[in-house]
C-alpha cells in the first residue's frame, strides 16, 4: 500500500546535492520492510509474544509511549530532500495526526502511528530512501552533523561525506549491533561547533595538519543523561585513510570493557570516566596497532565515491551584496529583523543560509504541521536547490538561498507561520516531548517552553538579550540537552508534583561545559519568573557584547544564586 501521486516526485531538474541510495541500499531497506511486515503479522496472530517482538519493533524505530506508539524516522546527518519532506507530510496526514516532531537528534517522530499501519509507513519511507533503522537499540545511532554543513563560511570541509561514510559503515554492522548501550556520533567540519561534538559518545572534528592534509580530531566519552560528561580528545589527528580502522578500534575496546551489568553505567562515557582517558587511549592504540588493516585498504576510494555524491549545487555567479535585499530590509522592519537573526553567512557570494524557526511564541518546539512541511518542501524547490536540513536545535534550514530571493521566501514562510525571527534567541528553546508524550517522563517540558516563550514574547526585548540557549528535558535522560543549556530546565517529580530544577552555565560548543544547579526545584508556574530574574540580572551586569554564558563565567555561579535569594527575600515567593 504505497503512496504514489505525482506530488511526491521532486522536480526533475533538482540537482543531486546529497547522497543517493544505490541498488544495494534500496534492496537492504526494502528487505527490512518486508521482514518487519512479517514480524508484525506474526505478532498480531500471536506467534510472537510481546517480549519476542519488542526488540524487533525497537530495531525499526517503533516505541510504545503514553498515548500511542511512536515512530522515530532517521534523517541521516539531518539532510532531507524536498521529495522526502513531502513524503513525511503525506505520512503525517495519512497515518498520523497531521504533524511531526523534529528532534534534537535531527530525526522526526510521529506520535500516533498504529502498529498495524507501521509496515505501510515504512514502505512509504523506503520509496524515498528513508527508514527508521537504528533509531533505537544498543547500536550506532543516526550520525548527526553540523546543520550548516557544506555551506558554512567557517568550514574546513563538508562533514556530510564523512557522516555518510560512517552511516554505511555502521549500518547493520554485525560487530556493533549489540553494544553495551546505544552509541551516538556527531561530526563537524567548522571552526564553530554547531553539532555538540563534546556531548556525544564519539565526536569528530575535521582538522588540517601541518602539511595541509585533512583528518580528524577524535573525541570520546561525552554524553548527557543521568551522568553527564564532556568528551575528551583521544587523538588529535587521525588521517582519513585510517578513520574507520581507528573508530573500529574504539568500538572494540568499548565492546570488550564497557559495562553490561548495569544499564546506567554502560555508556562509553562511564568507561572513560572510570578507567581514565590515558588507559582507554592506550587500549585503543594497542588494538589499532594489532588489528588486521587489510579490510580497510579500500577506504580511501570508498570515501571518494561517497564524497562525489555531495557535489555542490549549480550556484550562479553573483555579487556578494544584493541591492534588492538592502531595499527590502529598509522598507520592511520585520523582514530586517528576520535577516539579522535567522540568516547566516554562506560560503558562496550572493547566497545565504536561512534558519526556519519551529519555535513560534507559545508553540511546541520542533513540531511542524504537514502543511508547513509542504511549504518548506516547495520553498526549497523554488529557492534552495531542493535541499533542507534539520538542526539539533529542532529548526529547519534552507542551506542555499539567493540573497535576491530572501524577501519572497520570507513572505512565503510568514504566510505559513514559519517566519519567527528568534533563531538562537531566548525563545528558540530546545524541548523534549516530556510527559505530554513520553512514557519515561517525570514532568512536562513543552508547557514550560511555551510559558517561557510567552514571557519573552516581546521580540525587541529578545534581540536585546541576544543569544541565549534554554534547553528543557522532562526527565534525567536529558533528551532536551538541559545540561548544556546556558539555562537548563529539568522536570522531576517531587512529592507527587511536577518540579523543575534549573541549571546555569551549560555550553554545547567547543568550550563545552555542564550546567550547575541553581537551587531547590521550583514549580512549573515559577520557572518563567525565575528565568526572567536571571535574565534581568544578566542585562544589568553584562559588558559590551557579552553573551549570557560569558557573564555567568565572569561573575561566577554564586552571584546568580544570590539574585534568587534576594528576590525571595523581597517577597517574590521563589
Amino acid at each position: 500500500m504505497s503512496i504514489n501521486n505525482s506530488n511526491t516526485l521532486s522536480r526533475i531538474n533538482s540537482p543531486k546535492t546529497t547522497y543517493q541510495y544505490d541498488q544495494f541500499d534500496k534492496n537492504f531497506i526494502r528487505e527490512r520492510v518486508a521482514e518487519f511486515r512479517e514480524q508484525v503479522r506474526r505478532r498480531l496472530d500471536g506467534s510472537l509474544t510481546e517480549e519476542e517482538f519488542r526488540p524487533f519493533r525497537l530495531m525499526n524505530g517503533l516505541y510504545l509511549q503514553l498515548h500511542a506508539y511512536m515512530l522515530r524516522v532517521a534523517i541521516p546527518y539531518g539532510t532531507l530532500t524536498s521529495q522526502q519532506m513531502r513524503r513525511l507530510a503525506e505520512i503525517a496526514d495519512r497515518w498520523d495526526k497531521g504533524y511531526g516532531h523534529f528532534t534534537t537528534r535531527q530525526n522526526l517522530q510521529y506520535n500516533w502511528p498504529k502498529l498495524i499501519d507501521t509496515p505501510d509507513i515504512l514502505e512509504a519511507l523506503a520509496e524515498v530512501d528513508m527508514h527508521a533503522i537504528q533509531t533505537s537499540g544498543n547500536c550506532i545511532r543516526n550520525v548527526t552533523a553540523d546543520h550548516f554543513a557544506g555551506v558554512a563560511a567557517d568550514e574546513i570541509e563538508d562533514p556530510r561525506p564523512t557522516a555518510e561514510f560512517l552511516r554505511q559503515w555502521s549500518s547493520a554492522h554485525p560487530e556493533f549491533s549489540f553494544l553495551p548501550r546505544k552509541f551516538k556520533i556527531a561530526i563537524t567540519g567548522a571552526t564553530h561547533d554547531r553539532a555538540a561534538t563534546l556531548a556525544h559518545d564519539i565526536g569528530l572534528r575535521l582538522v588540517q595538519n601541518a602539511s595541509g592534509d585533512i583528518g580528524y580530531c577524535v573525541i570520546i566519552g561525552g554524553g548527557l543523561g543521568r551522568s553527564p560528561f564532556i568528551g575528551k580528545i583521544i587523538r588529535e589527528y587521525v588521517p582519513r585513510a585510517a578513520l574507520l580502522a581507528y573508530l573500529e578500534a574504539i568500538m572494540r575496546v568499548y565492546n570488550r570493557y564497557g559495562r553490561r551489568d548495569n544499564k546506567y553505567k554502560a555508556r562509553i562515557k562511564i568507561l572513560v570516566h572510570e578507567k581514565g582517558i590515558e588507559t582507554i587511549r592506550a587500549a585503543v592504540e594497542k588494538e589499532f596497532a594489532a588489528m588486521d588493516h587489510t579490510a580497510f585498504q579500500q577506504d580511501t576510494q570508498e570515501f571518494e565515491r561517497v564524497a562525489a555524491s555531495f557535489a555542490p549545487p549549480p550556484y550562479e555567479t553573483l555579487p556578494s551584496e544584493s541591492s534588492k535585499l538592502t531595499k527590502a530590509r529598509l522598507e520592511t522592519p520585520a523582514f530586517d529583523h528576520f535577516v539579522s537573526v535567522n540568516v547566516s553567512k554562506h560560503k558562496i557570494a550572493g547566497y545565504a543560509i536561512v534558519t526556519v524557526s519551529l519555535k513560534p511564541i507559545n508553540g511546541i518546539p520542533g513540531d511542524a504541521t504537514s502543511h508547513q512541511m509542504c511549504v518548506l518542501a516547495d520553498a526549497c524547490d523554488r529557492f534552495g536547490f531542493g535541499e533542507l536540513r534539520v538542526s539539533h536545535e529542532q529548526n529547519i534550514i534552507l542551506p542555499h538561498v539567493k540573497k535576491d530571493d530572501l524577501y519572497t521566501l520570507w513572505q512565503t514562510l510568514d504566510a505559513a507561520d514559519l517566519a519567527t525571527a528568534n533563531a538562537g534567541l531566548v525563545s528558540d528553546i530546545i524541548s523534549c516531548p516530556g510527559l505530554d508524550y513520553c512514557s519515561l517522563a517525570t514532568a512536562r517540558s513543552i508547557p514550560i517552553a511555551q510559558a517561557i516563550s510567552l514571557r519573552f514574547s516581546d521580540m525587541a526585548r529578545q534581540r536585546r538579550i541576544g543569544k541565549l540557549g534554554i534547553k528543557i528535558s522532562g526527565c534525567i535522560n536529558a533528551c532536551g540537552h538541559h545540561h548544556i543549556g546556558a539555562i537548563g530546565v529539568l522536570g522531576l517529580e517531587k512529592k507527587g508534583q511536577e518540579s523543575y530544577q534549573i541549571t546555569l552555565g551549560g555550553d554545547p560548543g567547543f568550550s563545552a561545559s555542564i550546567g550547575e544547579i541553581l537551587g531547590p526545584g521550583v514549580s512549573a508556574d515559577q520557572v518563567p519568573e525565575v528565568i526572567e530574574h536571571l535574565v534581568d540580572f544578566y542585562l544589568a551586569e553584562r559588558q559590551e557584547n557579552e553573551a549570557f554564558i560569558d557573564t555567568w563565567r565572569r561573575l561566577g555561579h554564586a552571584r546568580f544564586k544570590d539574585v534568587l535569594r534576594r528576590e525571595g527575600e523581597d517577597g517574590a515567593d521563589i
Partner: protein, 107 residues
C-alpha cells in the same frame, strides 16, 4: 503486589493501535469512565488476572493497576498526574487524544 490503599483501575495499551484502554465490565474500554473500579485487594487481583490473560492473548500490552479516587459522578480519577495525562491526551494539544473525543477536560 503493593499494599492496597486506594481504589484501583487497570489500564493498558491496545496492541493493534497503541491507544490507552481500561478494563471495563465487558472487556476493554477506550473511555476511562467505563473502567471497572476495584475497591479491595481481592477485586484488584481479579482485574490483574484478567489483564495477564489478555496480555497473553495478545490483545493488550503494558498493563498495570493505578490508584484512583472516585468522583461524585462515580467515575474514577487517577491520583497520579501521569495517569491523569493518559486518560486524556497531551495537555498541549487538546485537539488530539481522548479529550478531542469528549473526555472531560478536567485534571
Amino acid at each position: 503486589m503493593t499494599k492496597f490503599k486506594h481504589p484501583q483501575i487497570l489500564l493498558a495499551s491496545n496492541l493493534k493501535d497503541g491507544e490507552v484502554v481500561f478494563l471495563g465490565h465487558n472487556g476493554w474500554e477506550r473511555d476511562f469512565r467505563h473502567a471497572r473500579i476495584a475497591k479491595s485487594q481481592e477485586e484488584a487481583q481479579i482485574l490483574e488476572t484478567i489483564g495477564k490473560t489478555d496480555y497473553s492473548a495478545n490483545i493488550i500490552v503494558d498493563v498495570y493497576l493505578t490508584d484512583v479516587e472516585i468522583t461524585d459522578d462515580g467515575a474514577p480519577r487517577p491520583l497520579h498526574y501521569r495517569e491523569k495525562m493518559r486518560i486524556k491526551g497531551p495537555s498541549v494539544r487538546h485537539d488530539l487524544g481522548k479529550q478531542a473525543r469528549g473526555a472531560p477536560d478536567e485534571h
